[in-house]
């Protein structure tokens, strides 16, 4: 299992990733993910797949319809759907 982190550390790491140009619709905070695969199994558009690290990865990001089913069903609060970018 991942090393323990606090909410503050999670925030900081996520902010850092976004600063470095993350712009996919769904964000996975891997240190909190326990690899249950619920998000992958119930994504209605097969946006997610399990990666080699046994964490979900965005295989088909353009198919995401932002339904938030992955976010609502993640038992670890480790995945969320990003807001659409203001253009």
């Amino acid at each position: 299992m991942a090393k323990n982190t606090t909410v503050e550390e999670a925030r900081a790491a996520i902010e850092q990733d976004f600063k470095q140009g993350y712009d996919l619709p769904v964000y996975v905070y891997k240190p909190w993910c326990k690899s249950c695969e619920i998000c992958v199994a119930f994504c209605p558009k097969q946006v997610l797949e399990m990666g080699e690290d046994r964490k979900p990865r965005l295989a088909r990001p353009r198919d995401c319809i932002r339904c938030r089913q992955c976010e609502l069903r993640c038992p670890d609060l480790a995945i969320f759907v990003c807001e659409e970018k203001a253009k």
């Binding site: 299992m1 991942a2 323990n4 982190t5 606090t6 909410v7 503050e8 999670a10 925030r11 996520i14 902010e15 976004f18 964000y27 905070y29 240190p31 909190w32 993910c33 326990k34 690899s35 249950c36 695969e37 619920i38 199994a41 119930f42 976010e71 609502l72 069903r73 993640c74 038992p75 670890d76 609060l77 480790a78 995945i79 969320f80 990003c82 807001e83």
Partner: protein
């Protein structure tokens, strides 16, 4: 917002990931509670989250509310004290099927009878998870547990029927598969001024799933998806089509003055008002 919306209601200094097993439904319930609180625009300081002992009862540790982690089965008793001391707080009791209905069964029915204003979120995984898979009062008859290798000989409680019969003003059931419905039910419950129960059917893949060969978390969620029927549909179906299924929705919704409201009247009477 570039942060998970729930993070603002988590305790910043607590270690994550949470204590629950991979695929345990309890974290999904936690997410639904936080969204319900946010939807109602409630402040963290207006909330009090009270729990007993068991897997589900670890939740207050992670939520940045006023919180109280108490003795086994006694969450509702402590919550009654919290509510009477400060009726302005929105009191949420976090409990499991063992905590609420076995050791805590009497507190459960009496708080419902008194209609003490609180929202009880009962995570029903149909087993004692923390202590090794013993059967609980909601383990369905014939199902296996570490203490029932040949299947339980006991019938299970319907927590919603029990709460209604005891006097609760609101009783509803949701599943973690349908997390959106669950969130809606918790929102309704939080808005009630009385004893409100939301039973959240939450899989335990580690013990219940393994002992009953129901597969991993995904398979248990898939089962929920395929075997849930809404109460309104269930009422129109013949009983044999409903048997063995999870019936979700609002079973009971009444308006009756809550305990603190009636208690205030007694105080006024005693003061000669």
């Amino acid at each position: 917002m570039k942060i998970h919306p729930a993070y603002e209601m988590l305790r910043p200094d607590k270690n994550f990931p949470n204590v629950w097993c991979p695929g345990c439904g309890h974290g999904i319930v936690q997410g639904a509670i936080i969204r319900a609180v946010q939807k109602l625009g409630l402040d963290r300081d207006e909330m009090a989250m009270v729990s007993g002992i068991g897997c589900s009862s670890r939740m207050p540790v992670y939520c940045d509310f006023n919180s109280l982690h108490t003795a086994h089965g006694r969450a509702i008793a402590f919550a009654t004290g919290v509510k009477l001391h400060n009726p302005k707080l929105h009191v949420i009791v976090i409990t499991g099927d063992g905590d609420a209905l076995a050791i805590g069964g009497n507190h459960f029915i009496h708080a419902a009878r008194r209609n003490v204003e609180m929202t009880v979120v009962l995570m029903n995984n149909m087993i004692y998870g923390m202590t090794g898979g013993q059967y609980s009062p909601t383990t369905p008859i014939g199902k296996r547990a570490s203490t029932a290798p040949y299947g339980t000989a006991e019938r299970d409680f319907d927590p919603c029927s029990l709460a209604k019969a005891a006097g609760a003003v609101f009783a509803a059931r949701g599943t973690v598969y349908n997390a959106a419905e669950l969130e809606k039910l918790i929102t309704q419950a939080l808005a009630k001024k009385g004893f409100a129960l939301v039973e959240a059917v939450s899989p335990c893949p580690t013990l219940y799933g393994r002992l009953n060969r129901e597969g991993n978390a995904v398979k248990m969620m898939q089962w929920q998806k395929e075997n849930t029927v809404n109460v309104k549909a269930a009422e129109k179906l013949p009983p044999e089509k409903v048997r063995g299924k999870i019936v979700t929705g609002v079973f009971h919704d009444a308006e009756t003055p809550g305990y603190t409201e009636i208690y205030d009247r007694v105080i006024a009477k005693a003061r000669g008002a």
